[in-house]
């Protein structure tokens, strides 16, 4: 349980939010050229990092907007929150 600083609404309880999984997974540019293995990579394979991870979250019980978060999954501490469409900062 932790607090999340929504870029649109400010600091709220984590129970108002829904986690949307790993961020910056790009939809393949040429889907028809992908083989099954490449589709599996896109659809199913995840980094699932223990440590600093880039994620998407949705303020589902608030403004209902998506945003990005950099969070340490080993202790649930949030490092940075930035809006959708913004470039991820370098590590």
């Amino acid at each position: 349980m932790f607090l999340i600083n929504c870029p649109f609404c400010g600091e709220r309880d984590q129970s108002e939010f829904k986690a949307g999984g790993e961020a910056h997974i790009e939809r393949p540019k040429h889907p028809k050229k992908l083989n099954d293995g490449e589709w599996a990579e896109y659809l199913f394979m995840r980094k699932n990092i223990k440590g600093v991870q880039f994620e998407r979250w949705n303020h589902i019980h608030g403004c209902r907007k998506w945003f990005n978060m950099i969070r340490d999954t080993s202790n649930d501490k949030i490092k940075l929150i930035y809006k959708m469409g913004e470039k991820p900062p370098l590590k």
């Binding site: 349980m1 986690a19 999984g21 589709w39 599996a40 995840r46 699932n48 223990k50 979250w57 999954t73």
Partner: protein
Amino acid sequence: MKNKYSIFSLIKNAFSYHENWQKAWKDPTPKKEYDAVIVGGGGHGLATAYYLAKKHNMKNIAVVEKGWIGGGNTGRNTTIIRSNYLWDASVGLYDHALKLWEKLSQEINYNVMFSQRGVMNLAHNLQDVRDLKRRTHANRLNGIDAYYLSTEEVKKFCPIINTSPDIRYPVLGGTLQKRAGTARHDAVAWGYARGADEMGVDIIQNCEVKNIKRNGDEVDGLETSKGFIKTKKVGVVAAGHSSVLANMAGLRLPLESKPLQALVSEPVKPIIDTVVMSNAVHAYVSQSDKGELVIGAGTDDYVSYSQKGSHQIVEGTLNAIIELYPIFSRMRMLRQWGGIVDICPDASPIISKTTIKGLYFNCGWGTGGFKATPGSGDLFAHTIANDEPHKLNAPFNLNRFISGNLVDEHGAAAVAH
């Protein structure tokens, strides 16, 4: 040679105030090289080592464990055992395990307190009713002892359930598997460890794997906190940390690791003699032999390795428990904890070879791995020893995410994941 546990050994040791019991397993330092090394000393890993030694005659093997054996999810689950899954492949896997459970205490000479007290799953809406009836029919076609119960039959089987039609999620029916039940989770790890140790398996605790060393496309060994261990075969059974281990070998897995919580109450006299699971409201309850209510809650939706979990998850589960069992409304909870579960997109496990020769993964058990412990160990041992899966775990290969042959138990497995 291990002394056999029996009523006579108990009496004999009583005379020396139980101070001279033989050690159940040694505390060896790792050898330079093994024929195979299992990473992860939980129930599944120790069972794998046991069956490798027993059925495949691989005695020069080791289990390496970061902490102490059985200290991870083996000691954190709610000990429920059942095999009433929807799909044929899942029934094959979980019922194989259930059949091994039935003889396990005798086989390993260790009382795992396996109790076939039945597991009941409740339906709270019309879709639940349809799903549970469908699963009951599917189970019966697969030879599983499944019964569909009406609301009155649910009440008869477990009288403390509130079956009033005016509660928020009324009980519209349920299913029952009578062969299902519970076992003592610590005993399973300890029993397999003792059995494996007797056959010469080295069980090495406080030994963290730092890297999986590869020689091209083959496994060469493990770099651990106790030095380098050379081996040609590595079986990883690391539950929530599977992705971390896979990353060391340069692999990615279709897993997300999330906290799953459970809690126990203060001990009370026997009040519930079965296991009741309710996936719509996400509340499971049974009673331990010590008298505590053992309550299973749900997973959080975010990736975390922190073994904590959110308060609102526990709150939601307890709300449901109180409505379904008004008699528990003034019970006090003693302990709450989280475990990290590795969840597959189809909510079925992976017991598989990988693209790296000699590297095997047994993971993705998600929220329900404990019930499969003996079967998982048996089939993973077969896969490691023969470098080929057994026919029961062949459907649970990693390749299914490429071929599309998913074993989709999500929402079908009588449990909300």
